[in-house]
Symmetry: C2
Subunit: 385 residues, 2 copies
């Protein structure tokens, strides 16, 4: 046992004492105390009737936030990126034609995953922050005739919201399935899964749902479930195989993997908080907070990166004013009042702040608190409104 | 918004109130109140210096429980099965020769994953519950000359412990890497990663580590890290790509995915509980509890499925006595005192009980509590010791 004794003896860690943060970034965001309480309830087994019930409740609640009555809900035991990979591995067969609207970081990630799954990829590239008109979407899809189309509904890296209606309509005309990345939109702005016609959507827990990160709630249309049922090859990922996960979660409850029980408790509670507020009320609260936030940043003489009609209510990109070092502004906010926001990356590195006003923070009081501290941090870097 | 309004209005769920369970199954197991407290501490961002520190602490603690000073530790944001898939997708290239010791459910799962990753598979089959002698292991590996060898250290489905020394030695002679499934062994019985010569090990949080499920701690030898660094193709999974995860976790801290912050808090605390007890003391406590447990079941006239020299201290398979319906015994235990144990599956369905005496339950008092209730449940099914 000599190999083990030495490191044990020298391992001394202080008690866990996370600093108090105001999470005004793109996620993770603030969590309701009720959700923390649920998170730490005693676990039961992953095949316990009580847990099966919890999974069932979560599925119903997930359907509600997505806005689907026809579709199915499944929850992946991984983060939003695991949901993205589940969408790809289950619905993009090797050599399938995969068309992606590429206007930000997460469409690049979709592209990378599809490439690794052997897809034949067609990208429609636009600058980060731009969106696609209905005509552009339709023309691209008619020209490429893909088997699968993917778009990012609310692109966290740019702050732009891409409407899905025309994409879904054109995709269905050519017989394609549509994957919609709803990581940032779910719970913050309407997804309207059924109305829009999305076939496969994935999200995360730590943005619009105000829950800690760790699970990926998905919605899957009847059409996509049928397609999956007819698929004769196995997805390359076993862990993310939706047929097996569906069977464990909703049909036979046969063991697939040991679901993260505590995270399901937390997600159930986070969704119940949303139900109690009412999903439309929640969307309206985010819209109101966003109006106030945008008014405030414009009053500071700052510019929004995305035009008003394409903004995401719960995630904004604000242009860094000339001469200001955005990293120093972020450091000032974090070291002082403990506010976390994010910078841009890729083509937007150094050019934008990414600010999330969501969940418990989407109130007038919190917006004003943020604006006050943001102004001070900018002033400290020599910026005068 | 009409699609949404209707389901919202009809969604009424009772408050989350999980029943009290004594988790005497193969996992999840009981969790220390300190770990639940850590789980519900306020989250910080996944790129926050505090969280980077937490990840670093966890890596050091994971190395300690695995018994490695030379290897690296990484934690996968998924359950034990995600760790298994990470081992396969990163270390088994398509068409690689993959040799697996197939004596239980989890070696079948390894086989299935390797198949999906396009490996050329050689299986050495044995009955569930049997293990491989040093000679058998060496002969198989010398004959097959694989690039990757996989074995299950503690096979949850059978209760048998497979020593890894001879496997690793023979594998290294033919230039192969060794994957060791330590899902059930880590924290319960010694893994001795460096001494044994394992190259890639994965585990879970909800068995020997006494933490809720949701993460998969891995250990990776220097040899395996070098091999991975030299690999020129991308693993088929992006989510489980260990080069990217290693970079995020330990090198650049560049964003890969949003790590499940709360689960990392919990795992850090669970590992600190282990450090404070001392890992050798913990192993000894499990061994002692197991001796007492085995003595008790044998006194009831029951038979262990695995011979003494191949048993797992924290997970036992007890043969179901003739004429007893094991499902009814389990139901009796769950409905009465709230004790969860598991049945067998595959070739052992209906033939064994799978009983975990681990973590907080591995004390004389808890063993005696279990044995009393187990006896009553067996008696209720007409079994008389």
């Amino acid at each position: 046992m000599s190999v083990v004794e030495q490191p044990t003896a020298t391992l001394h860690f202080p008690p866990l004492q996370p600093p108090k943060r105001y999470l005004f970034g793109p996620g993770p965001t603030m969590v309701d105390p009720r959700v923390y309480a649920a998170l730490s309830k005693p676990i039961v087994g992953h095949l316990d009737a009580y847990f099966i019930q919890v999974m069932g409740d979560v599925q119903q609640l997930v359907k509600m936030v997505y806005g689907t009555t026809d579709g199915s809900a499944l929850v992946i035991s991984g983060t939003g990126s695991a949901g993205m990979e589940a969408a790809i591995t289950n619905f993009v067969e090797p050599a399938a034609k995969f068309a992606v609207f590429a206007n930000g970081y997460f469409s690049d990630r979709l592209t990378e995953m599809a490439k690794r799954h052997g897809a034949n990829i067609a990208r429609f590239e636009k600058s980060w922050g731009e969106v696609y008109s209905d005509d552009e979407a339709r023309d691209f899809i008619r020209r490429e005739k893909p088997q699968v189309v993917a778009f990012v509904h609310a692109e966290t890296s740019t702050g732009a919201l891409q409407k899905g209606d025309a994409i879904c309509k054109a995709a269905h005309e050519v017989g394609a399935l549509v994957i919609g990345d709803c990581v940032t939109s779910l719970g913050g702005v309407p997804v309207n899964f059924d109305e829009t016609g999305i076939d496969v959507a994935y999200s995360c827990t730590q943005k619009g749902l105000s829950c800690p990160p760790g699970l990926s709630p998905m919605a899957i249309s009847e059409r996509a479930m049928k397609w999956l049922g007819a698929r004769t090859t196995s997805p390359r990922s076993w862990y993310l195989d939706l047929k097996l996960i569906h069977d464990y979660s909703t049909v036979s409850h046969r063991y697939h993997h040991t679901a993260p029980i505590s995270m399901f408790y937390a997600l159930r509670e986070a969704l119940m908080v949303i139900v109690e507020e009412g999903i439309e009320n929640r969307w309206e609260r985010h819209r109101r907070a966003n109006r106030s936030f945008v008014g405030g940043v414009e009053a500071l003489g700052l510019k929004m990166h995305v035009p008003p009609e394409h903004r995401i209510a719960n995630l904004s990109t604000v242009r860094v004013p000339p001469g200001v070092d955005e990293a120093k502004v972020r450091k000032h906010l974090l070291d002082g009042p403990g506010i976390e926001i994010a910078g841009g990356f890729g083509p937007l590195a150094g050019k934008v702040f990414r600010i999330g006003i969501m969940g418990p923070l989407a109130t007038e009081e919190n917006v004003q608190f943020f604006l006050r501290e943001f102004k001070k941090a900018l002033n400290a870097q020599g910026y005068e409104a």
